[in-house]
């Protein structure tokens, strides 16, 4: 089959690889109909996530049709012919973490748990196409994929919603939603979201459906801010204005009640010297993150507020504003999204028309053009927000 693979830093390549087979009894094989490039794929391609290997099949946002199931998948859970969206964290459904609905911390799904434990203190779940640290599972930017624990993860789509309407249930919609969910949003809340990429857009939409009084988008790409504006959100361009002053203006001097970091480890920054500091430390690998968004969110949040982090971090960061966090009674919440927890309720919200996931799609390309897709997405060319690939 054809698959988009990691081919070294800043390089992806569509290659022919063997078709996937059932390796565990609870596996299913899915023929992929739609897949997408995620912002977190860029962290892999940019070389900031360790343990990638040449030839790794990328992609963790995909859906398609079940063409084979292992002997351990009960027929009432999944059958050949089912149309499914596959959540990016692989979760067994049996361990303590899964029992607590913390699927992205599944204790059994990562065969490389020993390595992850060294990096993170405790192991994390397996993730499709997302380095060997998270298991070394082939990803979904391909024609077919093997889906472990197929009786737990895949969400059956039984209505006639299009692929584009449900594909993002695999990752970015639940991730954005969890960012807002972690904020315990009240109807008086002003919620500020750093990053107007696809996850940020969905965090904004989610904050609104959860009842926020006002949602503010912070980014520097005019087209991304326009997209947020069209969806009804207030915008701040950090290339043009000072974020803190503008946030104070917009909140009567209080600061936003809830702040969401939807940027993560490769933030860019209005202040050149601070950007240079982190960029250099990151380049020589003495710091793995460029955490401007997180720092600014913590400094901006009103006292007693919540800072929710859904942008991806992989290692260690410097100049963490612990003083602001501690002295102003902030709550910091985070996590890789526990997608399985949110898929069904979000599917209902899509069906009811409360959230329109298709609004972020700017490009649809054949899988063969994955390299070009990565290029325009990474370089924000052609007003690129989200690329969907068709195998």
């Amino acid at each position: 089959m054809k698959a988009n693979t990691w081919a070294g830093r800043n390089k992806v390549k569509v290659r022919d690889v063997p078709d996937p087979k059932v390796l565990n009894n609870r596996d299913a094989i899915v023929k992929i109909t739609s897949t997408a490039i995620c912002g977190s794929d860029l962290h892999l391609v940019d070389g900031y996530v360790p343990t990638m290997q040449d030839g790794d099949v990328m992609g963790h946002e995909f859906m398609g049709e079940v063409i084979e199931v292992g002997s351990g998948v009960p027929a009432d859970k999944l059958r050949v012919g089912d149309r499914v969206v596959v959540p990016f964290p692989i979760a067994c459904g049996n361990c303590g973490a899964c029992a607590a609905e913390m699927y992205s911390c599944c204790e059994n799904s990562n065969p490389n748990a020993g390595i992850a434990e060294k990096m993170f203190g405790h192991p994390v779940a397996g993730i499709f196409g997302y380095s060997h640290l998270t298991g070394g599972f082939a990803g979904g930017q391909a024609q077919y994929a093997r889906v472990p624990f197929a009786d737990v993860g895949p969400l059956k789509i039984e209505s006639d919603l299009t692929d584009e309407q449900v594909l993002f249930l695999s990752d970015i919609l639940p991730t954005g939603f969890m960012g807002a969910d972690l904020c315990d949003i009240q109807k008086t809340d002003v919620v500020a979201v750093w990053g107007a990429g696809p996850v940020g857009q969905f965090a904004m939409d989610s904050a609104r459906v959860l009842g926020a009084a006002k949602v503010i988008a912070i980014d520097k790409e005019p087209y991304r801010l326009q997209m947020a504006e069209r969806a009804g959100h207030t915008t701040i361009n950090f290339d043009e204005v000072d974020v803190r002053s503008r946030l104070l203006e917009l909140t009567g001097g209080r600061g936003p009640d809830k702040c969401i970091d939807a940027v993560g480890m490769e933030a860019s920054h209005g202040a050149a010297h601070i950007h240079a500091y982190d960029r250099i430390k990151q380049a020589v690998r003495s710091e793995t993150e460029r955490p401007h968004a997180l720092r600014q969110a913590i400094m901006s949040c009103r006292s007693g507020g919540i800072v929710s982090v859904i942008g991806v971090y992989g290692g260690f960061l410097d100049k963490f504003p612990a003083g602001a966090w501690m002295n102003r009674a902030l709550t910091l919440r985070t996590g890789q999204c526990h997608v399985q927890r949110y898929m069904k309720p979000l599917l209902r919200r899509i069906e009811r028309g409360e959230i329109d996931p298709t609004r972020v799609i700017t490009h649809t390309l054949p899988l063969d053009e994955a390299e070009r897709g990565f290029d325009i997405f990474k370089n924000k060319q052609d007003h690129c927000e989200k690329v969907v690939l068709k195998p």
Binding site: A3, P18, D19, P20, D54, V57, N112, G136, F137
Partner: protein, 332 residues
Amino acid sequence: MTRLAVRDPAKVRQEEVQRRGRGLGWMSAGLGVAQLAAPDTVRRISGVDDSAVSRVMVPLVGARELVHAAGLLTSRRKGVWAWTRVVGDAMDLASLGMALAHRGGRRRRRLVGVTGAVLGITVLDLLTAVHATRAKEAGSGPAIRGARRGGPMELTATTTVRRPPSEVYAFWRDLGKLPTFMAHLEEVRPTGDRTSHWSASAPFGKNVEWDAEIIGDVAGEKIAWRSTGNADVPNAGTVRFVPAPDGVSTEVHVLLTYDIPGGAVGKAVAKYFGEEPHQQLDDDLRRLKQVLETGEVVRSDGAPWGKRARKEFPQRPAQPLSDSDLAKRAGA
């Protein structure tokens, strides 16, 4: 998660180096203080009291000695600081050589005496520096290196399984199932109610086999066993099953003891456990948890061989296996 206790000869060598380093440090301190506090006495004893240059040189050398002393007395890295002393000795010998060339009579005799003493100290410094460097090389390896010369090795590990203690106990008590999650075991065959025959796979030495007996068995709580007869690698183990605070899970606490022999088998065992001996047992328990909670050992494209995926890196790329890869698995 895991603790390892091995009496380690490398550690003994390290302690010796630390002790000698401190000795040299005190010597440097004494010399330094003397050269700074009473430079003229030092110059007279050394036979260079006729030189104006030595009036400047002797306190400078004294200051340098204090630097050596500070380093040797405060740093754990005695090797590096011992080498700085060797360099200092070379400088001193060069100066003494120059002084010798320009003197005769009483002063020359004194110079010869001092040079001899410095030569002796140089030898001592050199020996300490070399020793420290070697001890560091040996010490930077894993503690298990000590075990190559034989000796007892204890490994402990623990995990929590979301199954009741009775079930986890029953699984373990069925000794034939141990090889499904313990990487080094090929087969465990019960030969009686409390006795069994064990064989370990190739990495553990060539077909190491032994008999074992259960010496403690409390249903739902504890199993203890030990090898019997003339085992190549005498070993014993205890596993305790403790109800976890959540009321549904079991804490599994394992203690394994290996009496590692010298010679080829001992070497093979040490090599098997490698740089991080506890990692093997941690991985074994992770697989136990997978089997009990999910039904089988979890496989990925990067690590498709279950318990055979011993060396975690480098792995095969995360892309589906070819038919020939799968055929290899069937044979493995």
